[in-house]
């Protein structure tokens, strides 16, 4: 298990380095970027040339890359030119990561809390009304563009009904104390209940929008895998023991059906970042996603580079976590016989 974990971590490093080189080369080969961002309309050819030289953007690409690597190793990924001009990319990441994490966690929680029970019920009543409805529903969930869903939610529940705030993470006026950067958490540990609640209210709509796809997927996997398990021999054995339905359900069906579901949950968590780009833009939610969206629009290369790298990193880590958690629920892997594929 340990060797496997180590191997995977090394793989992660490889992925990140490869990616960084790829992105860096590509980003640098593009027009615009820092110079345009810094000068805007005031730019004249002369000024451009001067600034390009000052920033060393006229040097050969690999020279630039090694300089970048050097800085990167010391945690310096350059300074934002578009998202929050003047802040270091790393700072921006650290600031916004908690926001997106809060959002993603809530989204996944929603998806799981609704998806798994529904998936189980649908499987039990296979072909029933509930089954067909929820299946089609889940497919629609995939078919609706996330940002559109987000928009409709905001329009209805925030603008028309005014139940939730439309944008942001927290009201400016609250001047809540910042401890961890996780607003809800901060609110709780500083006992600023209003702050915590306000932060939660800001999370709800985006989280729902964000959870639409994970929900659909988790629901469908749960359903499928429960169906598979239901006609496994050992369920029949359990029946032949005359066990009560709850026991069979809990101990024999769900425990086995959860294996693929766990994987899926992991995948979806990783993939949330993509959805976050759209959702956070709609709700002006100051997280990684919004930073990416603005970064793309304003060609903020340092920030883009770091954030995409981190996204990939997180994604791989999540997957690793998933594979490990597998071991916990699946003895076959734990005892190493299954190894790590």
């Amino acid at each position: 298990m340990l060797r496997y974990t180590v191997r995977r971590l090394l793989q992660l490093v490889l992925v990140v380095v490869a990616l960084s080189l790829l992105l860096f080369a590509w980003l640098r080969s593009l027009p615009g970027g820092p110079v345009s961002a810094l000068l805007g309309e005031r730019a004249t050819p002369a000024l451009r040339a001067q600034l390009t030289a000052e920033l060393g953007l006229d040097q050969p690409i690999f020279v630039q890359y090694f300089k970048f690597l050097g800085r990167a190793l010391s945690g310096d990924f350059g300074v934002s030119t578009g998202v929050q001009p003047g802040d270091s990319a790393m700072e921006i990441f650290l600031q916004r990561f908690p926001a997106t994490l809060e959002l993603s966690v809530l989204a996944i929680l929603i998806a799981v809390a609704v998806g798994i029970p529904l998936g189980y019920l649908a499987a039990r009543r296979r072909g029933g009304v509930l089954d067909n409805l929820s299946v089609v529903g889940s497919l629609i969930g995939v078919a609706v563009p996330v940002f559109f869903l987000a928009f409709v939610l905001k329009q209805v529940f925030a603008v028309e009904l005014g139940w939730f705030p439309t944008t942001g993470r927290q009201e400016g006026g609250l001047d809540a104390t910042r401890v961890t950067g996780f607003f809800v958490l901060d609110g709780l540990i500083t006992r600023e209940w209003d702050a915590a609640w306000d932060a939660v209210k800001h999370l709800i709509l985006p989280a729902i929008a964000l959870s639409s796809i994970p929900f659909s997927v988790i629901f469908r996997i749960t359903r499928a895998s429960v169906l598979d398990v239901l006609d496994e021999d050992f369920v029949r054995t359990a029946e032949s023991k005359g066990l009560t339905t709850p026991v069979i359900r809990r101990r024999h069906v769900l425990r086995n059906a959860m294996l693929p579901v766990v994987t899926t949950i992991g995948l979806q968590t990783g993939a949330l970042l993509a959805g976050a780009v759209l959702t956070e833009k709609v709700f002006a939610f100051p997280g990684i996603g919004q930073a990416l969206a603005i970064g793309f629009e304003r060609r903020d290369y340092p920030v883009l580079l770091l954030l995409i790298l981190c996204a990939a990193g997180v994604f791989v880590l999540v997957n690793l976590a998933v594979d490990l958690s597998y071991a916990v629920i699946d003895p076959r892997i734990r005892s190493g016989s299954g190894g790590g594929r």
């Binding site: 563009p145 006609d231 990783g270 993939a271 995409i308 994604f315 690793l320």
Partner: protein
């Protein structure tokens, strides 16, 4: 390998196993014919494709011609309402909305199909390479694929999309397509590996059939099942992700030939005063994406031996 990649592999072997010979396809078809979900999906897809192909004939006006331009007053947020000859009215620069939706169908189909085909082609090449001549080729190809798979789909698409010096229709398609290449590649490799050890391949090899023949006559054909399923699903994904790109302003800036995602993306800043401009394309996207997904899902289920309960 990540859990994600593993999942793709499972799916691959899974369906590859089931996909042995015509009789099975026939059985699958029999199940499909009775499956209302599939029928609904198929109906949508067929309608969409027909509409898309006939669009130029059906469209009452030139989708690029701002014929109602004089009715547009952005200052007072006036956009041409429904009127004789223009059942859906005009868009934010006074072009006939109906015509744009119709022609949009064509462009959307184009985006979906091209993106899928490119992704498929790329995937086929890589996957076949890896699956056929395993060994270091396999390793290298799969490492590359893993790197690509280690970024969430849309995020990758958006990154790529934003990295073109001058975005246009094809950069969008390319961005969406590239994301799908690794998925197809893994899928194909997975099911080819499953084939590699299957009896008919072993038999063929025992009979001394040449490796190339084995790959192309035995392994490849039998591995296509899951790939085809995936392709239908990718069509839907492609359309949706293209919309996502447009929403982020990375779509095709030239809007003379409209595409639904683009229309939706452009309607976003008038969405609450003129929701119809957004709801029409959005509705179309949802329905069509749903259509392809329904078909894909029911195909997958039909090809899955376990589903024969």
């Amino acid at each position: 390998m990540t859990a994600r990649t593993d999942k793709i592999d499972k799916l691959a072997q899974h369906t590859a196993r089931s996909d042995a010979g015509v009789s099975l396809a026939a059985a699958a078809w029999r199940r499909l014919r009775r499956n209302p979900v599939f029928l609904l999906g198929a109906a949508i897809v067929v309608a969409f494709v027909v509409l898309a192909l006939l669009a130029p004939l059906l469209a009452p006006h030139d989708p690029a011609e701002p014929m109602l331009g004089d009715q547009v007053v952005r200052a007072r947020n006036e956009i041409p309402p429904s009127q004789p000859g223009h059942p859906l009215g005009g868009d934010q620069v006074g072009r006939d909305l109906l015509s744009r939706l119709l022609v949009g169908a064509q462009q959307t189909l184009l985006v979906g199909v091209l993106a899928t085909l490119i992704g498929l082609a790329g995937g086929l090449v890589l996957g076949t390479l890896a699956g056929a001549l395993s060994g270091w080729v396999d390793t290298v190809v799969m490492r590359v694929v893993d790197v690509m798979l280690s970024i969430p789909g849309l995020l990758l698409a958006v990154s790529i999309g934003s990295l073109f010096a001058q975005p246009n229709q094809y950069t969008v398609i390319l961005a969406v397509a590239i994301v799908q290449i690794p998925v197809f590649a893994r899928l194909l490799r997975g099911s080819m590996l499953a084939q590699r050890h299957s009896d008919h391949v072993l038999a063929a090899r025992a009979l001394g059939v040449r490796e190339r023949a084995i790959v192309f006559r035995h392994m490849l054909p039998n591995s296509l099942g899951p790939v085809i399923v995936q392709a239908t699903l990718v069509l839907a994904i492609a359309i949706i992700e293209a919309a996502g790109l447009s929403f982020l302003g990375l779509g095709n800036p030239d809007d003379r030939l409209p595409e639904w995602g683009q229309m939706l993306g452009q309607a976003q800043n008038v969405i609450d005063s003129h929701p119809e401009l957004a709801f029409w394309p959005a509705g179309c996207i949802v329905v069509v994406a749903l259509g392809f997904t329904l078909v894909g899902e029911s195909l997958r289920e039909a090809l899955d031996p376990k589903s024969r309960r």
